[in-house]
Symmetry: C4
Subunit: 209 residues, 4 copies
């Protein structure tokens, strides 16, 4: 990236990274529906069969909420940036890797619920969210690092917005580590903590303005 | 969102929400085709097999039309907004949840048509549309609420456009509740009302200009 | 759409229709790969199995080329428009319906090649392209109609560009009708005409500037 | 494309090509997850089954990285262009063809790993990357050709950025030809070279500014 590039060009590049990321988020969140299988077999008992696969619905809703919240956070981070560099693109790629993988453990949890493999499935599920939370932190720490000649952020790195995100992100991986640890004891507890975190982050923050 | 953000920045954020939503609509409408199964088995009777799965085509076309109309409405609502906040993003997320789920009941209706589970399938199908219509109303009511210090709408909340949408949205959920109620009596009637609603909303409105 | 809307707002709306359509084109063209099945069974004969499914590759490449060309044309039409109205959105929706359906007859052709159902499959395949070509014409005729108080086109409806498209589109449906008619005689001939049309339209036009 | 088109219009067209390409990249990279199958069968041995399908994870990660790197390069090339013409669109279409095909050989490698067909699968896999690298070169050579009355590039074709890309692209196909050649001797070596190339290109370049 030469130093002669105009500010408009840099903004455009940031915009294209956001657009690509949005595409990946949108596809990953929509592919989750492919795990909702229409029951086959004895049709007179359709209602029972539909209800029996409720773990699929729990896993679907939890993953939908979690990817949705991740998109919100990604949206918020990028709204504070006005340029990207190669390292940021690679960190963003790792984050998107985690997002695109999500339908796989979702399907695993849905199929193993109530079976001997449920705890392992919940461990893989919450474990992937731990990894994603770590990638989110790495992306943000890199973007907001003060030791940088040309700032990635459009705002000062000690501004109120930046510090608020620092505060919030410190806890993210820890919450998911708790969900991961719970999976050794109870699959349901682990998945419900993940669902609870998505709900919790979906509650609008109380802001003075 | 700090009060120092420029108008351009707010517009850009609204644009990104639209782009993400468009992605989800586009993917959900395109994934519907995965439910059109190519018939296997005795190949000499391919024509008969293709015709026999006409309920799949009805369900596909109805869902395509319904998601298309939802996109049109989403497009229209967001063209009246010039900013988004956290609550609006969450309401938009609930709406997109309904949209991404649509391929599932579509597949259910296609498979159960003519079988004992058809009424239940039609009930799930029209029931999801009731929920989506309610989310649409919630999104619009929140966005157009007059009790707001900083307006989400770019137009006055008593303008002609806003009142026209109020009028039209009042009826949306009711229409789908009728389709849902019909499913207890006849699956075909319920799905055809849904198809009719998509057709009805697709007719261009007569406007003076 | 009120007459108070600014030109920028109208351009933005046209942009969102293009973005949504691009999403549908991009997804439909990418879903085609799901029809390329990895062979199962005796692994030592993998090479033979991969070669034996060459009809899948022909169908895949033909559909990829055709959707790609459709995108190019869509791109060209919309670059001449500076506003959209409800009717245009509905016509665009019908066009996108044809595009999203394409993976279904593609899969049909791939599976029936060499089987008794091949001619019927090729008929469905080329038939869908006839319908899409007709929708393309309807969209263009509506957009370029001179009997319109507020023009959809950004250029005069008797400009060189507009007349060139008129000339070219006159023939589109006819070509695909030929492919459709051929399907009653030979499936291969029908599909190869479709492939040839995609190749033909992919050749860059000789332009003076 | 008439000579009367404004610069803004040309930029917008370039932007739409980028957006469509981004959509295809985003979908292709996200569809890769559909190849990660959740193990069925004896559930008590889920952990072993999950570990046994490690070749799927290797193939998934390699393809994710490779498509991600391709997107980065596409992004970089298009940031240097300010117009597109028909030939460039066709070359871009061929490139996207290679990208959308990628999930197919990925699935092939994942299934054949450790089986007699592994070398052939790795050959198809790396062979597709050779073809994509050649298409990338063709696209770039066409765009940066100095024998052109109206330049596609926004920068002089002997600028530092352009020459740096020339240097780097000269080697791309050669590297993948090595991976292809290795597939005749060892499937693992071939795939690992592909993985290594993705990792290598993901390392941020050391730049003076």
């Amino acid at each position: 990236m030469s130093s002669h590039e105009s500010r408009a060009q840099l903004e455009k590049e940031t915009g294209r990274v956001e657009a690509f990321s949005d595409g990946v988020f949108a596809i990953a969140i929509t592919l989750l529906v492919l795990d909702l299988k229409t029951p086959h077999g004895d049709e007179t008992t359709l209602a029972r069969q539909l209800l029996q696969q409720w773990p699929s619905y729990v896993a679907f809703l939890t993953s939908f909420g979690t990817i949705g919240i991740m998109w919100l956070n990604h949206h918020r981070l990028f709204s504070l940036m006005h340029r990207v560099d190669h390292t940021l693109l690679v960190l963003n790629g790792l984050l998107l890797l985690g997002v695109t993988v999500t339908p796989f453990p979702t399907s695993l949890v849905a199929e193993q619920w109530g079976h001997p493999g449920a705890k392992l499935a919940a461990g893989v599920y919450s474990g992937i969210f731990v990894v994603i939370a770590i990638f989110f932190n790495a992306l943000w720490r890199y973007a907001s690092s003060p030791h940088r000649r040309v700032s990635i952020l459009r705002v000062p790195h000690d501004s109120k917005d930046v510090r608020a995100i620092h505060e919030q992100y410190k806890m993210g991986p820890l919450f998911y580590v708790v969900a991961f640890a719970l999976s050794f004891w109870s699959a349901a507890a682990s998945v419900l903590v993940c669902a609870g975190l998505a709900l919790f982050f979906a509650i609008p923050p109380r802001t003075p303005d």
